[in-house]
Amino acid sequence: MLDPLISARAIHFASSIMVGGAAIFSAFAAPSLSEWDGVASAHAIAGRQLRRFLLAALLFAVGSGALWLVILASSIGQSSMAEAITDGTVWSVFTETQFGRVWECRLLLAAVLSCIVLLGRRIRSPNLRLLSPVEALLAVIFVATLAWCGHAGAGIGLGGKLHLAGDALHLTAAAAWVGGLIPLLIFIWPRHAGLHSLRPRFCVLRRFSSLATLSVTVLAASGVSNTWFMTNGMRNFLGTEYGNLVLVKIALLLMMLGFGAANRYWLTPRLLPTNVPTEENARALRLLCASVSLEIALGLVVICVVAILGQLPPPGHEHHMG
């Protein structure tokens, strides 16, 4: 059956990761004006696309976050969602819990970011990056602060702080890789409205590939740290529902890595700029788009697994029920 709380969490995680992904992609992978063969209009079209994507992701993040809040309040108050709104439980959760206070900050961030993105399109010079550093910074904070809404936000002492820092890093790295895949697909899409040559696509793919490699390293290190804290130093990892789901997540990530490696070492070199694009170039580009699409699909399944993991009790703690 469909669990509304997990669904809301999954949509919120995915859209938040895409907010951060769009920003990090803009800062580290998106083409500069010179790479568009000096075509400012193509650069402007790409900027508009990325900003629309960012705004859409923000809209989904705020909507799913509000839904998450209402479902959570109804679960805490053991009442219907309508009752939770009318009897003040939603307001209490919003104003009197850590989850609510973090949400207030993130809602404010989303509002400020939306305003800057909407206003920025009128004042931005074509020589600037597609998104400004302020926009990128706010988007990364938006995704990293999700760490306070999960297991990592409830830890105690130094271990709790380390767990929290590791989780915030994990979310940021996930945004850089998984969240950047849709912007990547937008830029390499063969029928991109403002893009007719392979050169900018090649440059974007190479930079994104390096960014993804760094992200995977950070993801692996912070993932081990998170699992360590959640499974009592790995003592309660194997044979638990939590541990099994982490193994599923790792298997999915390895599949994504396989696609990423194929993109980097097999397909991207076949885009090497030539004066006249050949049929081999075009075929490699189509395969790249298919491969990135599959990576996105796998990434979304991983996010669903993460949404379920967040609802499971930490293994090894159940026996302390008193």
């Binding site: 059956m1 997990i6 819990t97």
Partner: protein
């Protein structure tokens, strides 16, 4: 086009997120008086230590004597510690029933007994 693709992606993801949940995260680590223990004199207050930080608004406990009457007079919660004032307890058995919301938004409940007197 981007919005339409994004909607399709979100719909796909929602369809995938099907599961049942086990919501239980803040567990009782230990208590004073200890779970199942016997203390010679009335403790004055019951202190419960949990494995995670608690939300005071949505967490609480009741202390009842053997005849089922409540004997606690108030609670205070700080971090992962809940304190219950009980005053002077007469010799006998007492039960403590607690329900908490951890700051990662999961509810748990449980109970234990202790005994005052020889």
């Amino acid at each position: 086009v981007i919005m339409r693709n994004f909607n399709i992606v979100m719909l796909f993801m929602t369809t995938l997120s099907c599961s049942t949940t086990a919501q239980a995260h803040a567990f009782l680590d230990h208590a004073i008086p200890a779970v199942g223990s016997t203390v010679a004199t009335s403790p004055g207050q019951i202190t419960l230590y949990f494995t995670q930080q608690l939300e005071p608004k949505f967490s609480g406990a009741e202390v009842r004597n053997a005849s089922g009457a409540r004997v606690d007079h108030g609670k205070s919660i700080s971090g992962n510690v809940m304190r219950l004032s009980v005053g002077a307890l007469s010799p006998g058995s007492y039960s403590v029933s607690w329900h908490v919301l951890s700051v990662d938004t999961h509810t748990t409940q449980g109970s234990f007994n202790f005994h005052v007197g020889k």
